[in-house]
Assembly symmetry: C2
Homo-oligomer: 138 residues x 2
Amino acid sequence: MEKRVEILKKHNIRITPQRLGVYEILLDKNKHLTAEAIYRKIRVSFPTISLATVYSILELYYKKHLLNEIRIDFDKSCFDIRTDTHHHFLCKQCAEIYDIDLHPCSALNNKEVDGHLIHELQGYFYGICSKCKDKSNL
Amino acid sequence: MEKRVEILKKHNIRITPQRLGVYEILLDKNKHLTAEAIYRKIRVSFPTISLATVYSILELYYKKHLLNEIRIDFDKSCFDIRTDTHHHFLCKQCAEIYDIDLHPCSALNNKEVDGHLIHELQGYFYGICSKCKDKSNL
DNA sequence: CTTTTAAATAATAATGATTATTGCTTATTT
DNA sequence: AAATAAGCAATAATCATTATTATTTAAAAG
C-alpha cells in the first residue's frame, strides 16, 4: 500500500483524492504553508477544489495530530507536517519561516511550569534571518 | 504631573482622555485583555468611544513599546503592559492566561539562533492550569 | 484667553481569514 | 449493485481588525 494511504488509514481517515493531494503538498520540502498557499498549489491537480475543503482537510489532520498549526504571523495560520516539538523563526524582512531546534531547552524538559500542566509549547522568534543579514552587510 | 501623563508625554504621545483611560485599564491587575474587553471596560467612562479608537490607541502604544501584543489564542490578540521579555500560558479549560517567567532560559541569553538575529521571542505554553488541575482532583 | 492647525475621535464601511450551510457526489458497507 | 454515511463544491456568514472620512479636540502661537 502507498505510504500516504497507509498513514491516513492508520489514523482512521477515509481516503479521498483531495486528502491525498493536500497530504502530498504538506510533505513537500516547502514547509509552513498557509491554507491559501496550499489551495493555490492543489488547484493545479484539482481545479474544482474549494478553499473550504482545504480548510476542512487541514482541520481533520490537525485533530488527528498529523500536522502542527502555527501562528507566528498574526494574520494567518501556517501548517507544518512536523509534529514533534520544535520552534519557529519569522524573518521580519523576507517573511520566511525557519524551524528552530533548541537542544537543551529547560522549558521542554519539564511537564509543568508554575504548577500548570504543559501539553504543548510554541516558541516564536522574530528578527532578521541570516540570509537577509548577509545581504545588508554587502 | 500625574504618572500616566508623564509616561505618555515621555513617549511623545499627545494626551487625550481616551488614551489615559485605555492606559489606566491596561495598568489594572487584570492583564492580557482583548481589544473587545478593553472596549467594554472603557465604555463605562466613555460611552461614545468606538472600538476602532481602542484599536488605534493600542497600535500607538505598541509602536511606542508601551505594551506587548500576544497571540496565544489564535482567534484574537491580547494586550499586556509588561514589556520585558516573558512568556505565557493558556489554560485550555478556563481560558485564563498566566505570565511565565523562565529564569535560566537558554534561548533568551543568545542574540542569535542558527545565524538568525533575534529581536523578540514569544513563548506560548498550552495545557491545564494549576487551579483547573486541582478542581479535577477533588 | 482666543485662534490656529494638525492630530484624534466616532461612525461606519471594508477587508480578509476562517467557519457554517446546503444540496450534490463519492467512498465504503451491506 | 444498492444503500448509507461521509465528503465535497459553492456560497454565504462570521468576526477580528483595518481603512475611510467628516467632525471634534488638544497643543501651540499670538
